[in-house]
């Protein structure tokens, strides 16, 4: 497999969110995860544009699932990360880990 193009930071966060959420990985869940866990406030328009880009790069895939009353019975789009996507996020993560080596004392949260 060819080495995938490096991921943008926001793309990484989105893929990680999808991996964590699994069956709940639809727009609302991803947005909430980004907001609550990554502290990123993101416009839904930008989020969907990013998801579309990841899809066109073949890094994520989605299927339709039925929606409940809470969303006026409109369908949900549940995302999964493709093998290519997994490889891409792993490679990004490895690069980050390599670069962080030996910097633990600096990178450690000062605690709050």
């Amino acid at each position: 497999m060819a080495t995938p193009r490096p991921l943008g930071e926001f793309e990484q966060l989105v893929i990680l969110a999808i991996l964590r959420l699994q069956a709940d990985a639809h727009g609302v869940g991803i947005g909430r995860a980004l907001e609550e866990d990554a502290g990123r406030s993101v416009s839904r328009g930008a989020l969907y544009t990013t998801l579309d880009r990841l899809e066109s790069k073949g890094l994520v895939r989605w299927r339709l699932a039925t929606g409940g009353e809470e969303r006026a019975r409109l369908p949900r789009r549940v995302y999964t990360v493709t093998a290519k996507g997994l490889a891409a996020v792993r490679s990004s993560h490895r690069a980050l880990a390599r670069m962080s080596r030996g910097l633990a004392s600096i990178l450690k949260d000062s605690g709050a």
């Binding site: 639809h26 727009g27 609302v28 839904r44 328009g45 969907y48 544009t49 579309d52 006026a72 409109l74």
Partner: protein
């Protein structure tokens, strides 16, 4: 849970494709909105709006938003019409986002102008245009009699009405109406209700049929007929639990037991101002002692008639004039000064507010024009600065029509965005207007932004788009190929024609601002004049309320007994009220200052020749208790006031106001003069004038004080009256204690029209205050728009002429000279605008004056005009000086180096 904002949902529906992909985005937004609503619904709404606008903006700039946006790779030449439009739209959106300053300024300007227009249009629609709740209201006329000399309206004498019914043929139906209020007793509580006495043809004339029971029949409408009543739907629901068995039930109305024969349809109101609960037959009330059969008595009767098919209002007017001429010949002693009038009922029912609304409409038209001019000016400026871009497009083979089409698209987008934002502004303004409006504007509770208004805003936006596209569009389209490219590179030359156009627009803008500012000034001066009018009494710390005692007045003996009861009631009531802690004094009279007279009568003066009936002097008569004058703060000018010793069995006396003396007893000493209320032949006591008091504004602040006669309450007992209480502290706080006193005396007595005197004065001025507030708002807006416009023109002129400035400075001109050059040019523009504005302002002022909105201020009021001109001049100087100062700081070496 509340659903997401409707307008935002609508926008999303319009921009997102209706596919499974689009639906997932919609669903996500709804779901998240729901989750966010639980924390704060307002914040959730804002969030939803932000997402909607962000998504719309992304789609417009050609990005995807989780949905398959078709890939437009269309080329200029081969594209179909739809594709061209899409390409134009996208390219225009991008261009507008790039030119953010221009876009925001234009959209905000349009939003304010359109918002104001939409709001006023909504009010006009609801109050004047929306049809009344009966068939073909346009064919229904309202008729009354008038004073033939002044043209002012008076009620129809009942015998005249009976003659009309025989002699007028223009109407398929004609009905008499008299608004009244009734005491309703016999239930658990006593109550005062509004209602109307009408002739039996009333509902027939309006083509309205009872939803339950039957209409009045001719036999119900005669003196001596069994007493019956019709009820409104509202009354039937609130008081009779919407029970169909209400028909045949009995109600005690003004002491008479009546049988309910029918219920009117839901939503029916003859006059939207009133809340009529009960309708009684008017003909049955025309008993001998009611005064109705006297041709000289103009009670509060009016008439409505439905025009026969093919009959016009003008023909109906001529017919009534002929009939009135006949009546004048036949009854010269009563009808010599009587004429008739015919007005469409729709106009009559919007009476009095028409002038305010017409003025507002005019102001809005001016504001809208101003907004359009401002946006046009911005568009011209922009088209000048992007001459090079447009020339490039033309040089690359973009046809002239295509180029204009593109510019129209751009302007259309701006106008639509402005229209949309204007709708939101309009909604807010309507709410504010309804909240600030005087309470007597009909149907105001029905005002809301609706589809018609939305269309109005849309139409106005599109019209404005084309208006503002024409100028820059045509200008750009004259630019041709290479020549344009060459010209465009030397932008000081290219700018000059645009600069001229903008100066022209600025003249218009300044002129419009002067008009609005002058209008606001005139209203402010009017309001000031009105609020400094001496009402002749002291309105603070006064509580007023009304009541009406019921009694049997069927025989002279019973009338006498009732009168004694009424007098006794006052004798008990007033001392009891005055004994309350916090009450300074209390009085009673059926007519209150500002609130208006409710008894006008003719009279005869001793020692003066008796004129024919129609020319007898008349005055407002007000029975008053002794303490009324001190309670209101009315001052004694001569003689004495009333006292407890003026009883029904002592000498008949009266107190008159100064206007009475001026008008009827000029040059005479009023004290000791004698007169008699009523017709010369009417039996009645001759009264001696024992005192003179100062004039009070009886019929509102604006109206001149009529001649007025006060009679001792003990000699002319009024069973229906207002109680006036002067309090030491907050008058409204005294109300419970006062109610308690009245309930002790008569537990079944309904109280109504509870007000403080200050409120009555304020309500009276509300029309002017509202007009002034709105005009002030508009004028401020106009000032801001005009100054921003001027600033833009001068500032643009400065940047376009940088090179020239450089030359001037290099040749030795001082910074001050450069500043004065630009300020001077700006001021010439603004002076032209000021002159035009003053001329237009005179026309506007005459219009406002004709609407009767000015008080003690002439249409040529120098203060209003000079203030407007001075304000605009100052603002213009500032708006010109700021950019001109920049010119003086131009570095000649930089400027001359050129592009």
């Amino acid at each position: 849970m509340r659903p997401p904002p409707r307008l935002a949902r609508w926008i999303l529906d319009a921009v997102l494709p209706h596919t499974a992909r689009g639906d997932t985005v919609r669903g996500d937004l709804i779901e998240e909105f729901g989750a966010r609503s639980q924390a704060s619904s307002a914040r959730a709404r804002r969030w939803y709006w932000r997402q909607t606008l962000a998504i719309a903006a992304r789609l417009a700039t050609g990005r995807t938003v989780g949905s398959e946006l078709t890939d437009h790779t269309a080329h200029w030449g081969s594209a179909g019409l739809m594709d061209r439009v899409l390409v134009d739209l996208r390219s225009a959106t991008k261009a507008l986002i790039k030119a953010r300053g221009f876009t925001i300024a234009s959209v905000v300007t349009l939003a304010l102008g359109l918002g104001a227009a939409t709001a006023v249009f909504s009010v006009v629609e609801a109050v004047l245009v929306r049809p009344l709740p009966f068939t073909e209201p346009g064919r229904v006329m309202w008729l009354s009699e008038t004073f033939s000399d002044t043209g002012s309206t008076m009620g129809i004498a009942w015998p005249d009405f009976l003659d009309w019914r025989l002699r007028l043929h223009a109407y398929s139906d004609l009905a008499g109406i008299r608004p009244t209020t009734f005491n309703l007793t016999g239930g658990e509580i006593a109550e005062r209700v509004e209602g109307r006495e009408v002739t039996w043809t009333f509902l027939h004339t309006l083509d309205v049929h009872p939803q339950l029971g039957r209409d009045f029949a001719e036999s119900d409408d005669r003196v001596g007929a069994a007493p019956v009543a019709l009820l409104s739907d509202g009354f039937w629901r609130t008081h009779l639990a919407a029970n169909p068995a209400a028909i045949g039930q009995r109600l005690t109305i003004d002491g008479v037991t009546r049988t309910v024969i029918g219920v009117l349809p839901r939503g029916f109101r003859y006059n939207p101002l009133t809340n009529d609960a009960v309708y009684l037959p008017l003909g049955a009330a025309a008993t001998e002692d009611s005064g109705l059969p006297d041709r000289g008595n103009h009670n509060n009767v009016s008439a409505v008639g439905r025009l026969r098919p093919g009959m016009t209002a003008a023909a109906a007017r001529r017919e009534l004039a002929d009939v009135e001429t006949g009546l004048r010949r036949e009854h010269p002693d009563t009808n010599a000064n009587v004429a008739g009038q015919v007005i469409p009922v729709t106009e009559r029912l919007a009476n009095g507010v028409g002038s305010v609304i017409a003025t507002l409409f005019g102001a809005v038209a001016v504001l809208l024009l101003l907004a359009a001019v401002n946006v046009a000016s911005l568009a011209v400026a922009r088209s000048v600065s992007r001459r090079q871009e447009l020339a490039l497009r033309a040089a690359l083979g973009c046809g002239r029509r295509r180029l204009v089409g593109y510019l129209v698209t751009e302007n259309l987008l701006v106008a639509l965005a402005g229209g949309l934002a204007g709708l939101a502004v309009g909604d807010g303004l309507v709410r504010a207007l309804v909240a600030a409006a005087p309470p007597n504007i009909p149907r105001l509770d029905e005002v809301g932004l609706d589809a018609g208004v939305w269309l109005f805003a849309l139409g106005a936006s599109v019209a404005i788009a084309f208006l503002i596209a024409v100028l820059p569009g045509l200008q750009a389209s004259t630019a041709r190929g290479q020549q344009a490219l060459v010209r465009a590179s030397r932008d000081d030359l290219g700018a000059s024609s645009g600069q001229r156009a903008r100066r022209g627009l600025m003249v218009v803008e300044v002129a419009l601002a002067v008009v609005l500012l002058t209008g606001a000034g005139l209203m402010a001066r009017t309001l000031r004049a009105l609020s400094t009018v001496d009402p002749g009494f002291n309105p603070t710390h006064l509580l007023t309320l009304r009541f009406s005692l019921d009694g049997d007045r069927s025989t002279p003996a019973r009338i006498e007994a009732f009168d004694r009861r009424v007098i006794a009631f006052y004798d008990q009531l007033l001392p009891a009220i005055e004994a309350l802690p916090g009450v300074v004094s209390a009085g009673a009279a059926p007519s209150l200052p500002i609130d208006g007279a409710n008894w006008n009568s003719v009279f005869v003066v001793t020692g003066q020749p008796v004129p024919p009936r129609a020319l007898l002097p008349s005055a407002s008569f007000v029975p008053a208790t002794p303490d009324l004058f001190s309670t209101l703060g009315i001052r004694q000018r001569a003689g004495r006031g009333f006292s407890a010793s003026d009883r029904h069995d002592t000498a008949s006396v009266a107190i008159v106001n100064e206007q009475f003396v001026r008008q009827f007893l000029p040059g005479l000493s009023p004290i000791g003069q004698r007169f008699k209320q009523g017709w010369p032949e009417t039996p009645g006591p001759w009264r001696e004038i024992v005192g003179v008091v100062n004039d009070v504004k009886l019929n509102g602040v604006e109206q001149d004080t009529p001649p007025e006669v006060y009679l001792p309450m003990a000699q002319e007992p009024a069973s229906a009256s207002a109680l006036v209480i002067r309090t030491a502290g907050d008058p409204a706080a005294m109300l419970p204690a006062v109610r308690e006193v009245l309930a002790r005396l008569d537990p079944m007595l309904p109280l109504f029209d509870v007000n403080t005197m200050d409120d009555l004065v304020n309500i009276d001025l509300a029309r002017q205050r509202l007009t002034m507030l709105i005009l002030m708002g508009f004028a401020t807006l106009a000032l801001v728009l005009a100054s921003v416009g001027l600033y833009g023109v001068v500032s643009h002129g400065v940047s376009a002429r940088t090179r020239e400035i450089g030359v001037r400075l290099a040749l030795g001109a001082s910074g001050r000279q450069v500043v004065s050059l630009f300020v001077g040019q700006g001021l010439v523009t603004s002076a032209l605008g000021l002159a035009t504005g003053v001329a237009a302002g005179f026309a506007m002022a005459r219009f406002v004056e004709a609407q009767g909105l000015l008080f003690h201020v002439t249409a040529r009021d120098p203060i209003a005009f000079s203030t407007a001109v001075a304000t605009l001049l100052l603002v213009s100087i500032a708006a010109c000086y700021l950019p001109a100062r920049r010119a003086s700081r131009v570095d000649p070496t930089v400027a001359l180096r050129g592009d």
